[in-house]
Point group: C2
């Protein structure tokens, strides 16, 4: 039976709202996902929200009722609120009618099974959460094994990253580690490390990608550090004919991932 | 000689700041671009800012001095301000040191030379300015002829779209029109209209794309309306192996554009 909360000063509501900030996500070890579609994708991937906060005017919505039932059956709590409270939790004028709270999964390199997929994405110092979420979504689409974040990347559990991932962060393992730790793990088993770079003439379509392939993308502004490029098995370049000679990092990553996928389906 | 303004209540500063809102962009027929890099890209494309507002602490920066000289030589005005004023203009905590104001170019379908490129992008009811800017950037990279926006799309001259385009909106012609007007223009000359859709089994790599190719992308949430799909010469699908069966629209667009480019460079 959902609990009803109408006061914004309620402690539970305040705690959920605080998850907008990275500091509190770390303290609580929880993050929030907005929207029926993403929470439903999570449930399909077997990830049931610990807490669901939903708009009272939607209490009879069939999918919502199913999500509430799943949440409560798993020992979670569903909370019915007026729209204004959802507005305050999400800080948006037109808030989604549903917010789910989930534990942050801690996945380490040692937890990854590199044989589970022939394709992986590795990003170094990724700064934009929208790019991160978009990369997760593409990863899901190509059947990649997961996303490995090196060094100081943005937080994959931020509201923007969760939103841009469209639920893919519930199906894609995400590891946060450092460059050196990753290289050590990588070289302890099979894997071709492919760096995208502007400092090579090696066309990305001229390379045969061995499985498992690890696609390494650099920071939005600076690309890859020299020593990370040196650690790659091959550096490749996506051809560009324009004036600016640069692509959005999530776009470059997708072009690379689809090239590998296309080679394997031929 | 740059003018110096230190008061936020100055009329020129207020007018520039108002360009953050679409309404005032339409009234003034002007938009703003932030950052040395984007303003320099604009100048390289022959688009000189009418007004430049720069941080006083950067007055001796070599590239900035060149941009100021170009602006003034073209009859424009350079304005030196304290950082706080740039902060107020851009609404950001760490504002760029330079903002340029440019006239909005009005490009109509009749102004496009479809023989100038073998590849064009068409987006229907695109909603996210970040996606729009990213698509412009990819368009530039593949040497596309321009971007045609159908129906109610977001504003290409918004600060977010300009930023995400990384300057590509100074090199890519942009037309805003309606579906029916576009179809009429398209069918009055050569052109293969290719729609991306989930409602087809036609693999995007199995099609030979005739020049000029027009890649038609649908809205982020709803895809293409049925009648727009019916108007296409071919519908194609990008293969997906994941749980979610969807890609970010700027990612799908890039995967399509690179397929066409790759076919032509083979």
């Amino acid at each position: 039976m959902p609990r009803r909360i109408t006061s914004f000063s309620n402690e539970t509501i305040k705690r959920i709202r605080s998850l907008e900030q990275k500091k509190f996500r770390r303290i609580e070890n929880r993050f929030m996902a907005e929207g029926m579609r993403i929470v439903a994708e999570a449930a399909e991937a077997g990830r049931i929200a610990e807490t669901l906060v939903f708009a009272e005017d939607l209490a009879e919505h069939a999918l919502l009722r199913r999500l509430i039932a799943q949440c409560e059956a798993a020992g979670g709590e569903a909370i019915e609120v007026p729209r204004e409270i959802l507005h305050k939790i999400t800080g948006k004028d037109n808030p989604q009618a549903l917010v789910g709270v989930f534990p942050i999964p801690e996945t380490r390199l040692e937890d990854l099974d590199r044989k589970s997929s022939d394709l992986w994405t590795v990003c170094q110092s990724l700064k934009d959460p929208g790019n991160l979420g978009t990369i997760l979504r593409t990863n899901d689409a190509v059947g990649a094994g997961g996303l490995i974040l090196l060094d100081q990347s943005c937080d994959p559990w931020s509201v923007e990253a969760v939103r841009a991932s469209m639920g893919a962060l519930f199906t894609q393992p995400i590891v946060q580690t450092t460059g050196p730790a990753f290289f050590e793990w990588l070289r302890a088993g099979p894997g071709m490390l492919v760096g995208t770079s502007l400092r090579t003439d090696h066309d990305y379509q001229d390379v045969r990608y061995d499985a498992p392939t690890f696609i390494l993308m650099g920071n939005e502004q600076h690309g890859l550090p020299q020593e990370y490029e040196d650690a790659c098995d091959v550096l490749v370049k996506i051809p560009m004919r324009g004036k600016a000679d640069s692509l959005n990092v999530a776009v470059s990553c997708a072009v690379m991932l689809y090239e590998v996928l296309n080679q394997r389906r031929r």
